[in-house]
């Protein structure tokens, strides 16, 4: 039993810095995934084709959309990974409780989202350089303005943070029972299936409309951050129910 009193902030801070070092390898997978996404985007993120008597037009669009998509998968997997027992046991190197462990995890995921968001938006430029080197085609585009760059980075960070919140909640649920590994995909696919059978819009369309179609950045921020906060609170509550060490 320790006689030394430590406050929560101090513990969270120590654990956070420890996790930054311990989980640095997650960044290798981020770099690898973004490079892979660039490879997939070399032919264009999407394309348009039109053909009639006189002209066949083929437009290939280049953007970092696929890179952002891959980075989201990375954020999701990273969030699940840090809830696993192996990673949670790292916390016992410190005087700790479930709350401090979760708070430091959230801070780590926020940092990961920031790194992921900045690199994902900047990666578009590397994609263009690769495209130019390998195809030497003229690429048409309007240079990114500073305002758009800031907007893109901020929104991507928020998306990644929200996705990592979902991953963290799923990870926490799986820690309660392994049945959730099967249950969650079944629930998700089942709901899509039921919506299809009942001939109505899939629920995911409403989720998409609520978050992705939001054109006001302020409202988007509020929606995403509050949703992420709810998911993290739920995760903390779930993880608090676990035994101290098992």
């Amino acid at each position: 039993m320790s006689l030394k009193n430590v406050n929560l902030t101090e513990v969270v801070k120590r654990q956070y810095f420890f996790k930054l070092k311990a989980n640095i390898d997650a960044m290798s997978s981020l770099v690898f995934l973004q490079l892979l996404a660039m490879l997939f985007s070399m032919g264009g993120s999407n394309s348009f084709h039109s053909s009639y008597d006189q002209v066949a037009l083929e437009v290939s669009y280049f953007s970092g959309d696929v890179i952002i998509g891959f980075t989201m998968i990375w954020a999701f997997v990273t969030a699940i990974t840090i809830t696993t027992r192996q990673y949670r046991n790292h916390d016992f190197s410190f005087v700790t409780n479930r709350l401090s462990s979760s708070l430091s995890n959230i801070l780590f995921l926020l940092t990961a989202s920031i790194i992921g968001g900045i690199t994902a938006i900047l990666a578009r430029n590397l994609l263009l350089v690769f495209k130019y080197i390998f195809s030497e085609e003229q690429i048409y585009g309007i240079p990114l303005t500073f305002q758009d760059l800031l907007l893109g980075v901020s929104a991507t960070i928020i998306y990644l943070f929200a996705v990592s919140a979902i991953g963290y909640l799923i990870g926490a649920l799986v820690q309660i029972s392994k049945a959730f590994v099967v249950l969650i995909p079944v629930l998700f696919i089942g709901m899509l299936f039921i919506d299809g059978v009942m001939n109505r819009d899939p629920f995911i369309a409403y989720v998409f409309e609520f978050y992705v179609m939001e054109s006001s950045f302020g409202l988007f921020f509020v929606k995403m951050v509050s949703t992420a906060a709810l998911f993290f609170i739920a995760s903390i509550s779930i993880l608090n129910r676990l035994e101290v060490r098992r």
Partner: protein, 227 residues
Amino acid sequence: MIILGTLLLVTAILIILVIVISLNSKRKFVTVKITHWLLIIYVGVLLLSFPFASLLTNDSMTSREKVGDLEEDQDWTRFYTALGEGKLEQLKSWQLINEKSYDYSNQSLKVEITGPVSPVYVERKDRDDGKIEALVYTNGLIVSGYDFSDKLVPINFRLENDTFSVLHPEHQSINLSIVRNEFTINQFTGQQAINDVSRVGNMEVYLKVPKSLQLNGTNVDFQYVKE
């Protein structure tokens, strides 16, 4: 944008400097793992590619004609109404992609078309000036709101004896690579998320002929305007 590019370049150079100094220093103030290296090099490359990518795309698009946002069908109607009614002043200067003038003083002219059969708009002038003016108009090749009509090989003409030929080019393939902002930016700026090709480069022939010239031709759909 140049300022931003320079800033990023300076940041990249600073990062490289910090690495070099930390490696040469006797007292290491940064412990660098392979993953750190990987991340630092990756971020450095990303920052360096920023000004380079800006140079690649700079002015390639903005130097082009920005076309106003019109509904596709509304614009289609306006284009063909202007041609059908001979109101060429309603069309933009960039829509005229080929213009030829021929001296011709005979009373009749045979018109033939090589390639797909399409209407030929004919405007009779007020007088017999002995000149045939052949024009090619396009409704535009508009991608992302910018005009790429210069990529089109226009319809050409040839006048030999009493035969006027409208020569359609071989079926042409146009490939364009367009950079688009990410969905995380477009969501707030309102740029179209899916394809934004609004016009695909239709071309139409418009002839201005002397008042009394008689045109004839098989398989030619003459559309006389202002009559």
